[in-house]
């Protein structure tokens, strides 16, 4: 988010609140390039107030019930894109099986905003500091994307392609997040904030352990999160945890190229990335 003074009004647009997904997709096609999806609207409204975007049509997807479901099957957990941060934290399916996501959701803005912010909107803003994406990436999540032409599924890691930019086409939207695990995950989400509890991350780390599958994602330090797994971390399952941690920390340190900004320098972010990664790994391995 930039820090220009916002306007007290919004630019003019026409608002739609379809109840059916097909209707939303057909509006997106009809007004292709001129329409924006609005989920929680928290980012969209701010960008319009700052006169950074001027959509002629705003398509509110909060009225579409099928985007608000969370379900668990043997093959994984499905989360509708319009599920809110509070709903993620209150969902027993998420709390019991996807601890990293529940924790990340507790950081998506302050508690009041969390009633409004949605997981689909959170990952689509394409800001380095959004908390949803590192957590979803650590769990190898997939995104189900629909348009009037049909659907495709992409890894969450392929959504954000640059600052504020996603790989979605103008008439596409995310309908569902699919986490390909349904149980037995050990996960965590750690976030360093340099000001109050309610602020954007300086560094955020999400880690996941599922049997012999390990991943560590480092967010907030570059436009796209960094993804490491047991292979790129050269994890030796037979070796001691302390040896592995030392090695992993070095690999992370030499592979991340964090940005410098008003919040923190690149060097500082690099050190914190290593420290948080080690803490997150210790946590998923049970403290040892």
């Amino acid at each position: 988010m930039s820090f220009t003074t916002p306007y007290f009004t919004l630019p003019k647009f026409t608002y739609f609140k379809p109840k059916k997904l097909e209707d939303a997709l057909s509006l997106l096609r009809q007004y292709k390039g001129k329409a924006k999806v609005m989920a929680g609207g928290i980012m969209l409204v701010n960008l319009m107030k700052e006169r950074q975007i001027f959509p002629e049509y705003v398509i509110d997807i909060k009225g579409i019930d099928e985007l608000k479901k969370i379900s668990k099957t043997e093959n994984g957990i499905k989360i509708g894109s319009a599920v809110t941060a509070i709903e993620l934290q209150n969902s027993l399916i998420v709390r019991d099986n996807l601890p990293a996501l529940a924790k990340a959701a507790s950081y998506m803005g302050d508690r009041t905003l969390q009633h409004t912010v949605t997981i689909g909107g959170n990952i689509s803003v394409g800001m380095p500091s959004t908390d949803g994406l590192p957590a979803l990436m650590s769990m190898d999540s997939l995104l189900r994307i629909k348009s009037q032409d049909g659907e495709r599924t992409i890894p969450a890691s392929e959504l954000v392609i640059g600052l504020g930019r996603t790989s979605l086409k103008d008439d596409e939207m995310i309908t569902e997040i699919i986490v390909p695990y349904s149980s037995g995950l050990k996960g965590t989400y750690l976030k360093l904030i340099n000001a109050s509890e309610v602020a954007i991350a300086t560094v955020a780390v999400s880690a996941l352990l599922k049997e012999r599958k390990l991943s560590v994602v480092i967010g907030a330090i570059a436009p796209r999160p960094y993804y490491f797994d047991h292979k790129s971390l050269q994890w030796k399952w037979e070796a001691s945890l302390s040896e592995n941690l030392k090695n992993a920390s070095e690999i992370i340190g030499s592979n991340v190229k964090p940005m410098s900004d008003a919040v923190a320098s690149s060097e500082y972010r690099k050190e914190v990335s290593k420290v948080l990664a080690v803490r997150a790994l210790k946590e998923v391995f049970g403290g040892a």
């Binding site: 988010m1 608002y15 609140k17 609207g41 928290i42 409204v45 107030k49 302050d110």
Partner: protein, 164 residues
């Protein structure tokens, strides 16, 4: 060019259902303050940070500067004015006074509305959890401690067994 259409929404505000004519791009905050004259809802940061424009929308706290008025068609808004007819909330407000939980008072309606929501949901809310629940509202005078005490003290009015 966007052709603006006026829409009539039906909004229940503090117990009274009103038909209000709005444009698609109007913010709930502006409608409440300017069209309905509800001035406990404060306009301050305009970007979803300070929380002083918080209202209850169908019972859930939302920041009205981030909410489109058209989104609220068919819903119910409650502000601090509307809470005065709720005996428990009245006691909560008295508790704010008793504990001196304000200096300038500008954030008080937002804190009252938000803490009413929290206590209604769970009158035995854990202290740390309470602080988290209230972290969407900023008090520039820094009377957080007194606000915390005031809300804790008012828990008893929200417990079912207790007659207020």
């Amino acid at each position: 060019m966007v052709v603006l259409k006026m829409k009539t929404i039906s909004l229940k505000v503090n117990g009274i259902t009103k038909e209000i004519t709005v444009e698609d791009n109007e913010l709930l905050l502006n409608v409440l303050r300017e069209k309905l004259g509800i001035t406990s809802v404060k306009a301050a940061c305009w970007r979803g940070e300070c929380g002083l424009c918080t209202v209850l929308l169908d019972g859930i706290p939302v920041k009205s500067c981030m909410t489109l008025a058209v989104e609220t068609d068919g819903k119910e808004v409650i502000t601090a004015e509307g809470l005065y007819s709720d005996e428990r909330a009245k006691k909560l407000m008295e508790s704010f006074v008793k504990h001196g939980a304000m200096q300038c008072g500008f954030c008080t309606p937002a804190f009252v509305v938000t803490s009413h929501y929290v206590l209604t949901k769970n009158p035995e809310v854990d202290g740390e959890e309470l602080k988290k629940e209230l972290n969407g509202v900023i008090c520039r005078c820094g009377t957080y401690y007194q606000i915390y005490e005031a809300v804790k003290d008012a828990e008893k009015y929200y417990k079912k067994e207790t007659k207020s």
